[in-house]
Amino acid sequence: MTSQPVVTPAGSQPVDQGFSVELGHERPLRLDCGVELDRFTMAYQTYGALNADKSNAILICHALTGDQYVASAHPTTGKAGWWERIVGPGKPLDTDRYFLICVNVLGGCMGSSGPKEINPETGKPWGLTFPVITIADMVRAQARVLDYLSIEQLFAVIGGSMGGMQVLQWAHAYPERVFAAVPIAAAARHSAQNIAFHEVGRQAITADPNWQGGNYLEVGTVPRAGLAVARMAAHITYLSEPALRRKFGRKLQDRNRVTYGFDADFQVESYLRHQGITFVERFDANSYLYITRAMDYFDLAAEHDDTLSLAFEKTPVRFCVISFTSDWLFPTWESRDIVRALNAEAANVSFVEIESDKGHDAFLLEEPEFDRTLTGFLNGAARRRGLPA
């Protein structure tokens, strides 16, 4: 053996820290809550190369607990990128063909301005003094990154779950900057049930004494238990009952019989505990509060007398709306509402419901039908946009 590959402690490829840009000096970012940010940082990753006329850029919008490490190792966990399955040469999001950008959302905890970062005014972590942000604010901040990259129009904006909300917001707020939009497993407004689940998560965090009224970073504690419980509750909503039954059933964890105690007797308990513990290592509790709140506030129809179609009046954007049969967090009927609104504007829209028992998380998992849909839609849009095959 002549050479050894570089091996990081996590056993994955070397970590790429990506890019980060400080914005707002010349043009402060005005947020929905009224606050103006005149210094904010946005961290992002890119894959592939921007073509000469800058027409092949795709913005990927990440979900609630996602980040910009779409197809590269996570700097904290060393794990593969969250959409590495479909991003890369020859894959549906083909890096030989498209220039992919993913920006850590405003309020996030992977380098973009958020409660975990230092407030440049005070030199201390923002904590709960960070302004409450919305999906529209996240999108405004992403648009500033594109301004910085001198990308006038995106070929496509793609995202699942909260990423799908951002896609819809992009099409609504910047129709001329979006050629094609792919909202996946998303909704145009956050449902009462989903707000309720978010509230459970937030209550778990704030009930943890280590949360310290939000000042845990200054005090030097971590609200591990609270954030882990929030993640466990949320994680159940990302799955489906059939998937849980298929994966775990009532199988016991490393034992032959129940122990008549409160240890993790069942495999499903052990799995959830693991999900909770690993999440705490990579995510900030206050960020979780801010981002869930942004989703709760999302309602595209609200500012149009509850008529969603008005949010897409005469839209030139080509849409591909995708849902999954077993997703009960963002069920198909919510995607259908989007389609109906787009039909009312005679918009160019495709709508595919993918048969899957994997629940909301299906968009992150192996679903060949989903890959075919995404590839086909992008190919059709690329033809229309005049991108070389």
Binding site: S350, F351, G376, N379
Partner: protein, 211 residues
Amino acid sequence: MNGPVTLPRVADTRVDLLLIADMIPSRSRVLDVGCGEGDLLHVLSTQKDVDARGIEISQAGVNACVSNGLSVIQGDADIDLVDYPDQAFDYVVLSLTLQATRNPRRVVEEMVRIGRHAIVSFPNFAFWKIRLQLLTRGQMPETQLLDEPWWETPNIHLCTIRDFEDLCRDLNLVVEKRVYLNRDGTATWFSSIEQLGNLFAQQGLFLLRRA
């Protein structure tokens, strides 16, 4: 995947769809209702630069269309046409699907509302072989076009060419063009003579608009 009826294909495209494509000028906006696996949409968008959209009831058909880069949604002619605004399309096409809708009259009304023109084709139930089968056997007829037994056919509202002419008069529609088709989807030589069409055509194809 089969639609409501089974038809021969030429170079992988149904012949009657090519006749429909001929009625549609380049660069128009078209909605194909019941677009199946997108044959007509494909011809229109690749050969005529048409802004072509589709509605298809079967999820498998929809997925096949979108995978081929066509703009198609899963939907139902009886339910989803109401969502579209008036005159949103130049042409709205309903090919061999009218007889499978719950409310054909309402569907045709919606088509001429959302499209400047409507193109409708349907199997002609007055075709002589159908008449003969009913007369001689006293049983529900089965033809090459309508090849399923009565208890499993999706075709619940069959009509004749004459019936359809009546409906158009009733709805105050202008028949801009009528073509009578053979079994293989080609036009018959008697396409201007209604008497012959109603007896000898397997399929009627109508180009309509509001008066």
